[in-house]
Symmetry: C2
Subunit: 258 residues, 2 copies
């Protein structure tokens, strides 16, 4: 008896033609039946945005002739793509959703801005195990080759073991050649934040505008964080939850005079 | 000696002219010095999106003549507004950031889609105590009057007591007249999700498109949840954290063969 192949939904936030998602599709084709539903244009830093005041277009496309996956290009955000895939396009619930490979880091606080991770979180909320993958290299020419064996390992382990309820995974890769990556570390999210500097300019009509430019500030010295792991040559894996309740703080707020 | 008035940053995701934010400004003017930095157009369901591939415009505006607050209208998302306010517009760090009052619920899983709450979370990440307020009434004609005394109470308590590190508050109001609101409950986020139904149509050019329409599914029967509190006539207060690490799951993932 042949074991049925898992159905794997692939999405991202850099757009359906980005090199990162093409690598992820290539690896997923060795593991399961692949359906791609991804944005038709870059949607970086879209967080968990959804499209409620506009319509969504979604077209079957043939980005890579001769390859086995089905592909759909969608006008919406990464989270829209997951909703559309699971509720409208697929005839059964996928066994896994993978998102990425993002061009750039989604470690630490970046997880909350990330379209890549929001797609994974959305899948989690509707009961689909999910992993977001990101490489610490923003370049379109980034070398995704060293990530492949770790992606395959993580996906096979996830399919075999399942994920704890309410949890998805945030996997980040250091920008290193294959032989310098030391392995995988399961971590917590480093306690870091962005300090912004706005670049103020004047447009040709004389109107002032701003570009957002930020500096990443990590004061967390813990050796159990994703930032530590990545700086020391490891692939970081953070289990991420979407129950945002600060359970420990309920008692404190209950001492207020309210 | 006169105690210095607190500096309060006000934002929202329904846009600077929405009735909800006008009510919030009115209440904040009784407590502190108020600066409003809010989107120039509705930005609902934008989650934690930020503007990185486009420019931001921000103008000083005079929405309500004769009122004491300073107001800025910004072309970006709610999170952009907070970043711009704290890093560019204000000459000192605000003592508090309040966001809302949102026209519609941000209880339970809605917190992850919410521009209102993402603005509060962003303030939290940069060390500004923050509260998001939402009323369970999507109407532009919603009656915000009953929310006022609870908003004032929560804000004064927050200024007096501070918030635990890494925590902001998600406050939702039931759609009820003042005399039917039973009080305040500190809660956890209910474990609920959205099941989407896509409304498929054809545009005048013959091209198919979709509207996202969802159904909120709450299978969480706990009496300690925000959904329970709201259904039973209470104002719900959920302490929200932006460390998304599922700490309990680290041990589980470490049992994987990775």
């Amino acid at each position: 008896m042949t074991k049925k192949k898992p159905l794997i939904l692939v999405t991202n936030d850099d757009g359906i033609t980005a090199p990162g998602i093409r690598t992820l599709i290539e690896v997923m084709n060795t593991i399961g039946d692949v359906v791609v539903v991804a944005p038709d244009a870059p949607q970086s830093a879209m967080g968990h945005a959804i499209t409620i005041n506009d319509v969504l277009y979604c077209n079957k496309v043939n980005v890579a002739e001769g390859q086995p996956q089905q592909e759909y290009s969608c006008s919406g955000t990464p989270v829209d793509c997951v909703k559309l895939a699971v509720n409208e396009l697929l005839d059964r619930k996928p066994d896994l959703c993978v998102s990425g490979i993002n061009h750039g880091s989604n470690s630490s606080i970046n997880v909350i801005y990330s379209g890549t991770m929001s797609a994974a979180v959305e899948a989690g909320t509707i009961g689909v195990p999910a992993i977001g993958f990101s490489l610490l290299d923003y370049s379109l020419e980034a070398d995704f080759e060293p990530t492949k064996k770790y992606i395959e390992l993580m996906v096979r382990q996830c399919l075999d073991n399942g994920l704890p309820e309410g949890v998805v995974l945030n996997v980040n890769f250091p920008k290193l050649p294959a032989d310098e990556i030391k392995g995988i570390r399961v971590c917590r999210q480093a306690n870091a934040h962005w300090e912004e500097k706005f670049d103020k300019r004047t447009n040709p009509l004389g109107r002032e505008y701003y570009w957002l430019t930020g500096e990443f500030i990590n004061k967390d010295k813990g050796e159990d964080t994703d930032e530590w792991a990545l700086e020391h040559g490891y692939v970081s894996v953070v289990p991420v939850q979407y129950d945002l309740t600060a359970h420990h703080a309920i008692k404190t707020i209950n001492t207020w005079d309210i």
